[in-house]
Amino acid sequence: MTDHRQTRRPYLRGALAALLLASCALFAAPQPARAAAPEQPETVCIQCHGTLPDRLGAPVKLWRTSIHSENGISCNACHGGDPKDAADAMNRARGFLGAPKETDIPAFCGRCHPGVMKDYLASAHGKKLGMGGPHCVTCHGNHQVVKASLDLINEKSCTRCHSFERARAIRDAMQQTEGYIVGIDRRIKGFQAEGVDTDRLGKGLFAVRNRFHTLFHDVDVARVKAESAQINVELGKLDRDLIVIEQARVKRKQAGGFAIAGALLLAVLFHLMKKTFD
């Protein structure tokens, strides 16, 4: 409004315009956008096979959505070889195993999953290995292995070799317990997202769940039914622990309600008091 201020304005505006233009000029040399890239390096296996086409690259795409990938387990964990040095990545002298023959598959997976392997080899399925019977990959796949659930026992999969009757019997026997497990898992995860220390409960559930799923590999309905009772008892214990937490949470919410009501009461009282001075 007054003159001396007006004369100063153009300089400031000019300075700002120059700043903006300068920042435009600075990125004239294009820089690649830096995505929030993971800081951990991928194994050389993925780095190479991830770029290959067709049969050689397909496993990488499948693996990326697997539970192994989620837990940082790459190709070398099953196939051996050096995961850091491309020269030795497929060197048999460095432990590379290649793709297993059909009869070697249970031992391949069983290196890390010995409990399941033991049950499988003793089962009707295991006894037919190499003679048209199913192995791990038949039901679980080889690269896109996902978290096991009852969905793996389905009509389409099991009727490849026999009628669905037997499979349905086992599936029905496992249904209730599986539902119980899934429910408890959901509640544990819910609590974990609220900061509850679910370490002991989570581990306990994991142990029970694995024991339960391993049961199936024996494909023995009687055994499943017998052990399910024991497993349900363990699940009941976890359930009770969760209920204790849930009750504590309800109490907190009630206390919170009182606190909020108290704050609102204070607000109303202060406001009324203020009005007496207006």
Binding site: G115, R200, K203, F206, A207, A259, G262, M273
Partner: protein, 139 residues
């Protein structure tokens, strides 16, 4: 003036509400800072020494989780948590190799709990115990 009466009444209400609010805030802070009594010990469990033959392991429940008592072929007695430190499965005692094997992902532990191979990140937790008069008291 009517306002005076109102002010006194509101003043009293406010004083009361403020004191209640202050107490409600002070109590949790006091409890939070107060020194805690030592963590409640889990119930101790007793075994007869003769119940545990050499080279064998005995599984039992302690402090709400699975635990194991081992007597190595050298005669040493060790009490450990049987919960695998990887994801929580219960480890199994392998008599042939005299070590622990976790059936879930093949974690292997020595009789004293140290990790021999596999994914477990830490050794099996030790549990304190005493041996006296042919009895083993765990806890």
């Amino acid at each position: 003036m009517e306002n005076d009466g109102r002010r006194k009444f509101l003043g009293v209400c406010l004083a009361g509400a403020s004191v209640a609010a202050a107490a409600a805030a002070a109590y949790p802070v006091f409890r939070y800072l107060a020194p805690r009594s030592d963590a409640q010990g889990a119930k101790k469990i007793e075994f007869a020494a003769s119940d545990l033959p050499e080279g064998e392991a005995k599984f039992f429940e302690y402090a709400g989780a699975s635990a194991v008592l081992v007597k190595t072929s050298a005669g040493a007695v060790i009490a450990l948590s049987a919960v695998c430190t990887h994801l929580g499965c219960i480890v199994q005692w392998e008599k042939a190799t005299q070590d622990f094997l976790c059936p879930c992902h093949a974690g292997r532990y020595a009789p004293d709990g140290t990790v021999l191979s596999g994914p477990p990140p830490r050794p099996l937790a030790k549990i304190p115990f005493t041996v006296a008069d042919g009895k083993i008291l765990v806890g």
